[in-house]
């Protein structure tokens, strides 16, 4: 049987994935003051990738996005542990967080917290774990 002619689905996916990825980044960076954070931001990112998997096929997406997701999950956990261990290095309890204000060229006065790094670790762990689960179920091998 021939490949189905799903040009409408493909075209709309190209636009929708951009919106979902933007929303995922928005959820991630708004985690400190608004609803959001690393977990839900990572899951929204995974939703965009799964939409690409559904429409374009796993092999094609994997070829253009060659990341080892198991290693990504491990890297996320390592980042989270090291941001916790930073507090121990300066004589504070484990997982002590700090924040400060820096002047960035484009954003002006910006609040930077080590909790963001912890959240990066959480997001990478969530992305790696869920994509590993989905790909190992979806693959025929």
């Amino acid at each position: 049987m021939k490949d189905p002619n799903d040009v409408i689905l493909r075209t709309v996916t190209k636009v929708a994935v951009v919106i979902i990825l933007t929303f995922a980044v928005n959820l991630f960076v708004s985690g400190h003051h608004n609803p959001g954070g690393g977990f839900i931001g990572g899951l929204a990112f995974v939703a965009a990738i799964v939409l690409l998997f559904l429409v374009y096929g796993i092999e094609k997406v994997r070829k253009n996005f060659p990341v080892d997701f198991k290693a990504l999950a491990g890297a996320g956990v390592l980042i989270s542990v090291f941001t916790g261990a930073r507090g121990m290095l300066i004589g504070e309890p484990f997982l002590t967080q700090a924040f400060g204000y820096v002047h960035l060229p484009l954003f002006g006065r910006t609040e930077m917290a080590t909790a963001v790094l912890f959240d990066v670790g959480v997001a990478l762990a969530v992305i790696g774990t869920s994509l590993t689960i989905i790909m190992s179920i979806g693959d025929d091998r």
């Binding site: 021939k2 189905p4 799903d6 409408i8 689905l9 709309v12 636009v15 929708a16 919106i19 933007t22 929303f23 928005n26």
Partner: protein
């Protein structure tokens, strides 16, 4: 009773949201009463999309005019629902047709069948 400006704005927003809920109710009635899956998708996709769009638009206008807050998430949500809801209905109808779900008895023509047989 005196009508000042903010009362009029809230009244208009209430009417917009009421229109949205009425459209959603009508699409639910259409989903119950229409005969086959294609007619149901016709009723459900168009009018419930428009209903959701009206509700989101009313909420967006409420935050913009009453609370002075431009909610970019609601704006993106309006665009996203407008973009994806008809496509999901299209995909559902298409997979129903490919799974040989029968048309309603009253149908008189099936143009897609001839095209698919030619391929």
């Amino acid at each position: 009773m005196s009508l000042n400006e903010s009362t009029l704005i809230e009244l208009g927003i209430g009417i917009i949201i009421l229109i949205g809920t009425i459209l959603g109710f009508l699409s639910a009635i259409g989903f119950i009463r229409l005969p086959d899956v294609y007619n149901r998708a016709h009723a459900l996709s168009k009018s419930s999309t428009l209903g959701v769009l009206f509700v989101l638009l009313g909420t967006f206008l409420f935050f913009l005019l009453v609370e002075d807050y431009f909610s970019i998430k609601l704006f993106l949500g309006i665009f996203f629902v407008f973009l994806t809801s008809p496509v999901s209905s299209h995909v559902i109808c298409r997979s129903a047709y490919r799974a040989q779900v029968p048309l309603a008895k009253e149908s008189v023509r099936d143009d897609l069948k001839e095209v698919l047989e030619k391929v």
